[in-house]
């Protein structure tokens, strides 16, 4: 029995998505910047995809900038705004490294989170009041490790009062599959998306401008994407992203409900079956329905993942470094979780295709694996 429980890392492209992409890899050679019939054909496919992505946010399709994925979108948001306007960037400590690193590298400010990993609103206000020259505030919609949801519209209201000239960016990469982005990202002027977290292809992302904000390109040459991102567009990838956006818009609510029930059964089942297990996220915290996040006392997640893999379960813990080794989670550290506790963390993440049988398998395998490791500790 195989159980793929790492959808938050990457979820399969939907078959419909792959189908819409294929002609753009095989039959149609056009460069969308060209003038002839094939070029116009590609241009139209690109713009249809742009419409579908824009619709996720109710944005102007002309303000969808296709990128290579979430990391590029996040980098473009931070670096692009800072290049255009100067000033400082601010983000909370549990952001994805694609935001954290450009914020830190540019001399920006990292704000603490509350115990659930959400930006601490009081500390955000203090930071914004203390600094004069804030150009960008970036707060993720949902966390990639825990699924915990920030109140982006409340953050935007804080920024409007305490740093009115600052642009609000949100990384909605982990939210797209589960939440209505129109309300989840309300108030954000820049939103990062990536295809492979909601049924699209890898290497396909977008930065959506929900308002006209100054944004300098970080990749230049050719003037594509309204001079916000140079380079010939990856038409097949954009088409796939657009199709995934259409599917998620149509199916999201039902999928979220179904997967949320599966996730709850998995999480409750593991807490019941495995002694000394804690839910990483405090009870009652709003989070996406796809992620079960647990900490098993006295267990090292690296060893646990190995045993789960032997039983056909693909999962993850914390984040992986370039070598593939598990690194201590900066998200759990930001939540104030002890390093020893965090060492035993496990993220089981579900997606559109997840099944009851996979959950049953995990409920059978995980407790035995934890028991084994505790016996050998």
């Amino acid at each position: 029995m195989e159980a793929y429980l790492d959808h938050a890392a990457s979820t399969p492209a939907r078959p419909e998505v792959v189908e819409t992409m294929l002609p753009w890899l095989t039959d149609h050679p056009g460069n969308p910047s060209g003038a002839h019939r094939e070029a116009r054909h590609a241009r139209r496919a690109l713009d249809d995809a742009r419409d579908a992505v824009a619709a996720l946010l109710g944005a102007d399709p002309g303000n969808v900038v296709f990128t290579s994925g979430g990391t590029e979108s996040d980098n473009l948001a931070v670096d692009g705004v800072l290049r255009a306007t100067g000033g400082l960037a601010v983000c909370p400590a549990a952001e994805h490294p694609a935001v954290l690193e450009p914020v830190r590298d540019s001399g920006g400010v990292v704000v603490p989170t509350d115990p659930a990993g959400r930006v601490d609103h009081g500390r955000l206000v203090d930071t914004l009041d203390a600094l004069a020259d804030i150009a960008l505030v970036s707060v993720m919609t949902a966390n990639n490790e825990t699924g915990v949801v920030n109140d982006v519209s409340a953050v935007a209201e804080i920024v409007a009062v305490h740093a009115p000239r600052a642009v609000v960016h949100t990384d909605a990469v982990q939210a797209t599959a589960w939440l209505d982005l129109v309300s989840a990202c309300r108030g954000a002027q820049l939103v990062s998306l990536t295809g492979h977290k909601f049924g699209g292809p890898k290497g396909a992302g977008a930065l959506v401008l929900c308002a006209e904000v100054p944004l300098a390109p970080t990749i230049r040459g050719g003037g594509q994407e309204r001079e916000r991102r140079g380079g010939t567009q990856n038409v097949a990838a954009a088409v796939g992203l657009g199709e995934a956006a259409r599917l998620v818009a149509a199916e999201r609510a039902a999928t979220a409900e179904r997967i949320g029930r599966l996730r709850d059964r998995l999480e409750v089942g593991l807490v019941d079956r495995v002694p000394d297990t804690s839910r990483t996220v405090p009870d009652g915290t709003t989070r996406t329905p796809g992620i079960a996040h647990l900490c098993f006392a006295g267990v090292e997640s690296e060893a646990l993942l190995f045993l789960l893999e032997q039983e056909g379960i693909a999962a993850s813990a914390g984040s992986s470094c370039a070598s593939g080794a598990q690194e201590p989670s900066h998200v759990l550290a930001a939540m104030g979780i002890d390093r020893e506790v965090a060492r035993g963390s496990l993220r089981l993440s579900l997606g559109h295709g997840s099944t009851d049988a996979e959950v049953d398998h995990a409920l059978a395998v995980v407790p035995a694996a934890v028991d084994r490791l505790r016996e050998h500790a």
């Binding site: 090292e300 690296e302 060893a303 190995f306 045993l307 032997q310 470094c321 370039a322 070598s323 593939g324 080794a325 598990q326 690194e327 201590p328 390093r339 084994r372 490791l373 016996e375 050998h376 500790a377």
Partner: protein
């Protein structure tokens, strides 16, 4: 899972170790340890070495994992390395890594994951005596012999350990890697301490982490004859780098006193001792008394000495051993125990 976990560093020896076990019909899984999170240029532990190990595993068709034992390494290798230097000792971090990381933490994990044995690419052999007990023995390739840095292995560890290249010369290992088309066949051997870069060196590494004390260099009568920038960086037996006036013949550090910020030097004769105190001695299978061959550095010549409860009484006067260095006892080719010079 009944099989062998092979610790693959990304070098040629462990690549061939994995290949040989696989060819012999064993179920093999490769693992590379991530130990040091900081900078490294020694040819060990870096991302490119992990890539080499992974690609060799791919070529062999075996699974490959990366275990991050960085916290353990910091706690049991790097921190003691700093603490030892801070009091003027000369630790060997590779010995401590073998003791605490590879043959303790990793071995414990291998067992927990269901592996029957752990294999490495070390150049040493495991031999069985007539009474059924095991000993670590010198490698077939004497120039590459690593038995000295593995002296701490006990019967339990030796039972679970496999050293597939210990009976081969380095040339044979490389030839085998070439025959198998492994990408690591011509990769240079790793050198030096993996967490200290060649570019910046030991002094820079230590200087960023512990206070370094400028000190006086004195002769046996207590007269100042030179000075050093950091007494913590002086090793007993060291000859250079102490700003000594010329014309008096070669002089060597014979003692390092960090609290007094003083290094004592003397002629080569002052380095010679009849007895070396050895601490935290470990035996392969029970204490051995009597005369043994004793080796005090990785590639040093073993000398005869009588082992006593405090250390070793040398047959011939022996160079003083820097405190913190390993003192390893051999019966012929076989390691029977060892400890750290006091």
């Amino acid at each position: 899972m009944a099989g062998t976990l092979v610790a693959m560093s990304g070098g040629v020896d462990s690549s061939v170790a994995a290949a040989l076990l696989l060819e012999a019909g064993h179920e093999v899984v490769g693992v590379t340890l991530r130990l040091w999170g900081g900078e490294s240029d020694s040819g060990c532990c870096s991302v490119s070495d992990v890539d080499d190990a992974r690609r060799v595993a791919d070529a062999l068709g075996i699974d490959h994992h990366v275990f991050n034992l960085g916290d353990h390494f910091d706690q049991h290798v790097v921190a003691p390395y700093l603490a030892d230097h801070a009091v003027g000792r000369t630790p060997n971090p590779c010995v401590e890594c073998n003791r605490h990381v590879k043959f303790d933490r990793l071995l414990v994990r291998a067992r927990a994951l269901g592996f029957e044995r752990l294999a490495t690419g070390h150049h040493a052999r495991i031999v069985e005596r007539g009474d059924g007990t095991l000993r670590l023995a010198r490698a077939a390739d004497r120039a590459k012999d690593q038995s000295y840095v593995l002296y701490m292995l006990d019967q339990g560890q030796l039972t679970e350990l496999v050293l597939p290249v210990g009976h081969m010369s380095k040339d044979e290992v490389r030839a085998e890697a070439s025959r198998l088309g492994l990408r690591t066949a011509t990769k240079p051997d790793s050198q030096d301490v993996c967490f200290i870069t060649r570019r910046d060196g030991r002094a820079d590494f230590l200087g960023r982490r512990i206070p370094l004390t400028p000190g006086r260099v004195v002769d046996g009568a207590g007269h100042q004859v030179g000075r050093v920038e950091a007494v913590e960086l002086v090793t007993v037996g060291q000859r250079h780098g102490m700003d000594l006036a010329g014309g008096l013949g070669a002089r060597y550090a014979t003692a390092v006193d960090v609290p007094a910020a003083t290094v004592t030097v003397g002629p080569a004769a002052d380095l010679l001792v009849d007895h070396t105190t050895v601490e935290t001695t470990r035996w392969a299978h029970g204490a051995v008394n009597g005369r043994l061959l004793v080796q005090t550095s990785a590639h040093g010549t073993p000398r005869w000495a009588a082992v006593d409860p405090d250390g070793v009484q040398w047959d011939e006067p022996h160079r003083r051993v820097a405190p913190g260095q390993s003192v390893v006892f051999y019966e012929g080719e076989e390691v029977v125990g060892g400890g750290l010079a006091a």
